[in-house]
């Protein structure tokens, strides 16, 4: 049961963060990551169009754009949190990893507390905040050792 990767995609489909979260995470080059990020962004949008169930305005029940929320494969689970401001937080993990939803929401809170409050961070740009990456690492450590209680 391990977390693999976290990636964050901005409103226009550009990748603003990718971070391996554990030892089992495959190491891929940055360009590959950029490609993966934009591909996911487009697939997310196309899925809403291709879906047999179309929601009004393509907005799901939490008000954010509808699209891929979860992909389950043989050795991987991918979960995506689409925020109302257009950012996607995507996490991949080995099957059986608990608390993926909670972790994604906590990462959103960390993003708003660490990355956004950094006065030198420009919106939609790659995140280069140590505080944010350290907090994410600490969060993953806490989850792997003890589990995160929903607040």
């Amino acid at each position: 049961m391990g977390f693999l990767h976290l990636f964050i995609v901005n409103k226009s489909g550009g990748l603003i963060l990718h971070r391996p979260l554990g030892p089992a995470a495959p190491r891929i080059g940055t360009n590959e990551w950029l490609r993966i990020g934009s591909t996911f962004h487009s697939l997310h949008a196309i899925a809403a169009e291709a879906s047999p169930v179309k929601l009004p305005g393509n907005k799901n029940q939490s008000g954010a754009d509808d699209g891929i929320e979860q992909i389950e494969g043989g050795g991987i689970i991918l979960k995506c949190l689409q925020t109302r401001t257009g950012i996607k937080f995507v996490i991949t993990a080995e099957p059986g990893t608990p608390d993926l939803d909670t972790v994604l929401r906590e990462i959103y809170v960390l993003y708003s507390d660490c990355a956004l409050k950094d006065p030198f961070y420009e919106l939609e740009m790659p995140i280069r905040c140590e505080l944010f990456t350290n907090s994410v690492d600490n969060l993953i450590e806490r989850v792997e050792s003890g589990g995160v209680k929903a607040r």
Binding site: K11, G13, H41, S42, H44, A45, I46, A48, E49, N58, Q61, S62, G63, D65, T83, R84, T85, G86, I87, R105, E106, Y108, V109, Y111, S112, D113, L116, K117, L123, A150, R151
Partner: protein
């Protein structure tokens, strides 16, 4: 659809979870910011524009914090808005409460439901403030400061925050307790609902 009492409760819960700052430090810091701007730009209209810009950068960041913390606290449903009326209530009851600790009221909805007002009874930014009186001799631009919108920051914050959720609005301060009115009123007008998202490119091919 969020009901008013649900919004009030959400506002209080979220305010309780936020780290608090000293209200005097907050008011005095803002006051020094405004006086510096007045000294630098000298023209109160320009200062208003700068305050709006500063508020805008605050607003675009605030909204993610608002949405993420509400979601984690289980109050996600309180932030769901199906029309502009809901947006106004959530803005006043949850947003203002969460960040400033004071409740605000939403009202003054226009006939076409495209504009509303936010009423603030106590303004934490103007705690110690007195605008210089008209006709002060030693201040060359003394009576011009009547044109200064001291709390214009709020207009920028609202504009920036709503822009991130695809609502393009224009805000202005129409009544100000610093100028003698009984309540602070911010008028918010919806200009357009922006449609974004990659989905638009793939429709109807």
């Amino acid at each position: 659809m969020s009901s008013k009492s649900q919004a009030v409760q959400a506002g209080q819960t979220l305010w309780a979870k936020m780290p608090k700052a000293n209200a005097e430090l907050f008011a005095l810091t803002y006051g020094s910011l405004v006086t510096e701007l007045v000294r630098d730009y000298e023209d109160p209209i320009e200062v208003n524009a700068q305050l709006d810009r500063i508020g805008h950068s605050i607003g675009v960041r605030c909204v993610d914090e608002f949405l993420s913390k509400a979601d984690v606290a289980g109050m996600g449903s309180a932030t769901r808005c199906s029309n502009l009326r809901d947006t106004a209530e959530v803005l006043a009851k949850v947003g203002f409460k969460m960040f400033l600790g004071t409740g605000a009221e939403a009202g003054g909805f226009s006939q076409d439901q495209r504009s509303f007002s936010i009423y603030l009874q106590d303004n934490p930014l103007s705690t110690f403030v007195e605008l210089p009186q008209h006709g002060d001799d030693h201040q060359s631009g003394g009576d011009d400061l009547r044109k200064l919108k001291y709390s214009n920051l709020y207009c920028g914050v609202i504009r920036g925050a709503l822009e991130q959720v695809n609502l393009k609005v224009e805000c202005s301060i129409v009544r100000d307790t610093l100028k003698g009115d009984e309540v602070n009123e911010i008028r918010v007008e919806l200009k357009e609902v922006l449609a974004d998202g990659a989905g638009d490119d793939y429709k109807d091919e």
